[in-house]
Structure formats: C-alpha cells, structure tokens
Symmetry: C2
Subunit: 378 residues, 2 copies
C-alpha cells in the first residue's frame, strides 16, 4: 500500500513524520500488558487510519479492530479485515453501508443505546434477511453516550436484540480517564470501567441474556488496568502514536510520541520573542487538549530534527498556515538560534486530530522515505 | 469540475452543505463595496479551495487570487489562473515549486520580511534565470509576521529586491480586526491598515522604490473600510462563506452563513439535557473561535434542515465522531423534539477550519445534488 517512494528534494513542509521504532515500542507495550491480563486488544484504528500502520498491530491481518467511520470499515474490509466494531451510535442512514459490508462476509458490529435504534436495526435486518450484530452502549462516567448501569432500558433493549439473534454484548468508553493525571485515579477509572461492565453483564445474565462481548477501553484505562476479569476485549487508539495529552496524563513520556509535524522556519519577530514556521492550525489542528492540563503545551512542543525538545519551546499561537513559536510564559529559556529555512519537529497535542490534517505519513525506511496514505473523511 | 451527481440515498452524514444563493450574496456584497471604493479585490481562496466556488468570484477565470499553499497555487494555475499571490512567508524549500509555476507562465508573487529570505529569493532567481516577484510583508497590529512601519530594514530589503527587478510592493494583514466587535473599532482598524500601508509606500517612494502593489486585507477590514485611497488591492477569504466568528463581529448575520455541516441524531441523554449527533470535531473542526467573543457558540449553532437556528441550541462539546448538542448555559429554551435519524444543520465557528475537514461541498443545484471537490493538504 506504500503509495510512492518520496524524493526528499520534492518534500515541502509541513508534513507528518512517523517514527516506526517508537510506534512499534508503543504497540508492543500495550499488547504485552493486554497479554499479561489475558484480554484481547481490539485497536481503534481511528487514530492511524492507515493499513500500513494497522498491519503492524497484528500478526495476521484480519482484526479485530474498532472504527469510527464506515469509510474506515470499508477500507479495512477491502484490506482483508473481517472483524470490525463501528463504535459510534448507529443511525438508520448508515445501515445500507453496514449491510453491504455484512453481505461481503465482514462482521460489523453496530452500537446503540436506545429502543428507537434497536427497533430500526432489528427491522432493517429482518427486511434485508441478515443478522446485524449489535452492542449496547453503557456509560460509566457521564462523559458521552450510553445507558447508565441501573437503567431498566438495558434489559429491555438487550431483550429485543437477543430475541432477534442480534445481541452481541456491551461496550463502554471511560472518557473520564482523560481527566485523571495521577496514577491512582487512572487505576480507579480502569477498575470502575471494568466493574460497571461486569455488573451490567451480570444483570443481563440474570435476565438470561448472554453477553458474549464485554468491551471496555480508553488509552489511559487500557494502560493502567490491573485486573480485567470479566472483560472480553479492550479498545484503544491513541496509544499507537501517543501524544502530548497522553504525556500530560503520564501514560507515556514525550520521547514515546511517534508522530511529529515537520515545519520550516519562515521568519522571526525578535521584538516579540517569536519564531514563525509554516505549520499553522491547518497542520497541527486546532486541538488544544493540553490547555486544561497542568502543563499547557500550546499547539505543540517544538523539537530539533533529531527529536530532542528545545527547552520550554512551544507553538504559542497559530493561524491557518502560520505557527508562532515562543518560549513558554514564565520560562527563562532562550529562543534557539533558528533561521529561515531551518526545520523543526512539532509534537502534537492530540494524535488523532493532528494526523487527520494530513493525507498520510512520511516514514523513514532504511535510507529512503516512503509514504503511508490515510483514509480520511467519511 | 463537478465530480459526480450525488444520489441522496448514498449520502451519509456528516457532510458539508453549501448554499450557493447565500454565497453569491456574500460575494456580490463585498465586490460591490470594493467597486464603490475603486479597489481590486484579490480573494483569498484558502477558505473555499475549490475551483467551482472560485469561478463564481470572477467574470473571467484568471484571478487575481491569494493562496495559502503552493498546492492551491498549482491547482488554480491548472485551472487557468495566472495571477497568484502566495501570502505566507517564503522559505527556500518552496522555491522549486514556485519556479515551476513561473516557468509555466503563471505570475506567483512570494512574500517575505527578512533580508535572509530576500537574499535567498534573489540568489535562487538569478541561478534559475527567472524573475521571482516578491512582496514585503508589513505588520500593522502586532498579530503575526511583518516588519513594523518605521523599521529601516524595509528600505534595505526593498532596495535589494528592487535592484534585481523583483520588488513587487507591500502586503499586510490586519489580523487585529478579529478582536474588534464594535463598528467604530473595525472602521478604525481598516483605516489604520490603509494608513500604515500608505506610509510605508511613501517611505519607499522617497527612496526611489516604486511600490506597484499596496495590498491590505482581512474580512472585517475589507467590509468596514470607508476609504482605500493609496491601496491597490484588498484580500479577503472568509467572506465567501461567512461564519459564526464573523457573525459575532457583526460582519454578517447568522442567515448569511453559506456552509453548514449536516449531521444525524444518533441518540440522546435526557438525564443530561443532551442530544448526540454524528458530527464531532472531525467534522466541525476543533476551532473554538467564538470562545473569546461575547456569545460563545460552542462548536457551532444547531439549525433545522431549512436553516432556521433552534433557540439557544449549540454543540456544547465534541469528541472525534460525536457532537453533544445542548441548550446554551443560562438559557431557558427547551431541547427540540429531535429523534434518532433526524437531521440538523450546524453553522461553523470558522469557515476555513470546518470546510478543511471535508473532501468537498454538497451543493443543491435545481433538484439535484452535486459535489464540488476541495484541494486540501499541501
């Protein structure tokens, strides 16, 4: 799937550089943790959206994977993946594309948390003469979608799906773990996620509904879980690349971040203490995920081309194609002696958001650069 | 350039809807204002990045246009545009692509604000045996790049370019106008931008350097300028679509916003007062440009499919493919009775950022829908 060898002379900035050695270390680290806990990892490919990346997650190429769009599902199905969970609440307009995938022999599980969705899915499946496996979304921390643990609708909806052979299990996402900087809080979030899932499974079992899938996950809870008994699978996405938000949450170190935006210095403003680069928000994304953390990293941490961060140097503001680089407020560090034409690497706040601004990854491979395309859009 | 007729049944959300009647009104309004002031408009195509949109800005198809990337320059050159200003500080790595465009007969003006850039451009042009027309960037409000009005480097750099027949004039961007909600402040920003430009032009003329181009622009100052004498051209981009930031600045009304993200309801949380849609930050972008304005519009204003805003209904938070819709804090409005499968339209904070999340525009055309592709990336 490598689109083309890249001629370094043709490569203009900004571009997205992927360090596969760091990526492999990130992949191996979480896989080892999951193996130790005896749980299947179902990686969320919404971060990478690239077959070249995702192939490196599996010794065989069929999944299981989680997707955030049907375009991802279709793309990975084309590349041989046959076990896909579409982890965004299903709406009726999406069912024809799900059906087409099912008919091609791919297992696509849909997600829902209301009787209206369950009825729509059951009715569509009956009309089409197929089985659409469905997961019931459970909320464990009030962050997003899902039914709460004691909601009687859980059994009602599962019952309807179960009667139609469509009930596949439950799924939850501990989004609240993103607000847990300290270790004990992340461990507690992971245990709360597990315990909530197991309690719901038990409720369903009491109603004679078997819960084949008990799916949990978020990158922080996946790394900090100490016990996953009762859970059948864990989902995580960001871990493949890691990012500044994860570093701020102590899920990884800065040196684990596998993607960076390569930018060129296009000017400076000594009167302001600024260096200007050609990586604005179009390249870095508008994500300011570290703004609520202890250490606000602006629009990204600026590093030399060898990957070493400059002391306290961040992208302090952006416009579409301009990044203003400055020393963090309160720091006494000096601006490095960067001149027009010099290149820097910028570590992203949020890997999913920054990567989505690019058509693909520039990947050093021996002494060459290759291009790994992404599947953006819907 | 219309890629394909779209089958409505194949159209899954989120997608980007373009109302060409509103767009035409926006285009005509600013063009009429520029005509009245006797100044050329050089639209910034970084907002639309679409030949189908930009064709509607000109009675002939050759520009002048402003671009933010060389990819835009190459794309519009392929479509017959011959007068292009690349309004981001030039770095040496970009010059081969500029050269290729120049050799194909397209005028591409580059932008710079340092002696290092000027020397690089002059030396590259000499080696290549071409003339690379260059504009000197002037700063009028401390927002971004450029030399300030009285900097002696202005004459030094212009002199070097002038001696090599490369000096094309000056360019400035009144980014500070984005912080001017009241009319008098926007009018003052426009006059300050004009007066600064004219003062720099006069300084250069005293040094016997002719300033053929005196280029100013920002969407707010373009609309609120009352006098542009001495200015040869105005640049603006967002005005074509308008957005919530511009509405918050009273540059336009909500009803002028020509693009919206169509989303489907995928669930609700009555316990939280939330409606969930499938337009998260991947569709809306992470831009929170109204966060600093008097009225914070969250991630966008939610409208019925006919374009009428629901009372105080905004996208209050997002994750990658989830948008949480809620009534604005402090409002007593009720959630509209939206159900799973219903569609809504979401007005964007920032047209440039939201449009860049999509491959193109879905455009109602008589009783059909057509697709207008964008030229994203670099």
């Amino acid at each position: 799937m490598v689109l083309a060898m890249i001629n370094l002379a043709d490569l203009t900035t900004p571009y997205l550089l992927l360090d596969t050695a760091k990526m492999t270390r990130n992949i191996d680290r979480l896989q080892a943790h999951m193996d130790k806990l005896g749980v299947t990892l179902r990686p969320h490919v919404k971060t990478a959206k690239s077959i070249d990346v995702v192939r490196r997650l599996f010794t065989n190429g069929v999944g299981p994977i989680t997707v955030s769009t049907l375009k991802e599902a279709e793309y990975f199905a084309e590349h041989g993946f046959t076990d896909i969970t579409y982890a965004v609440g299903i709406s009726p307009d999406k069912l024809p594309r799900v059906l087409e995938l099912l008919r091609s022999g791919v297992t696509v599980r849909v997600l829902l948390d209301s009787m209206a969705q369950a009825q729509a899915v059951v009715s569509y499946a009956q009309k089409a003469g197929v089985t659409i496996p469905a997961l019931l979304e459970i909320d464990c921390d009030g962050e997003r979608a899902g039914l709460t643990k004691n909601d009687p609708k859980i059994v009602e909806i599962a019952q309807l799906l179960h009667e139609n052979n469509q009930f596949s299990g439950i799924l939850m996402h501990a989004g609240g773990s993103y607000h847990c900087p300290d270790k004990a809080a992340k461990e507690a979030a992971a245990e709360h996620e597990r315990a909530t899932a197991v309690a719901v499974r038990d409720t369903l079992q009491k109603a004679d509904i078997d819960c084949a899938t008990v799916s949990v996950g978020s990158t922080p809870t996946a790394h900090f879980a100490k016990n996953l008994s009762g859970v059948t699978e864990v989902r995580a996405g960001v871990y493949v690349f890691q990012d500044l938000v994860m570093a701020g949450l102590h899920v990884c170190a800065l040196s684990d971040i596998a993607i960076s935006v390569v930018a060129t210095v296009i000017g400076d403003r000594p009167d302001k203490g600024w260096i200007m680069t050609d990586a604005g928000w179009m390249a870095l994304s508008r994500d300011r995920g570290t703004a609520q953390q202890e250490l606000d990293q602006g629009y990204g941490v600026v590093c030399a081309m060898d990957g070493t961060p400059y002391q306290d140097l961040i992208v302090s503001s952006t416009s579409q194609e301009h990044g203003i680089v400055a020393v963090r407020k309160g720091s006494k560090a000096k601006l490095p002696p960067l001149e027009v034409g010099d290149q820097v690497r910028i570590l992203p706040n949020h890997a999913c958001a920054t990567a989505s601004q690019f058509e693909g990854y520039v990947v050093p491979d021996n002494n060459e650069l290759v291009f790994w395309p992404r599947i953006n859009y819907w």
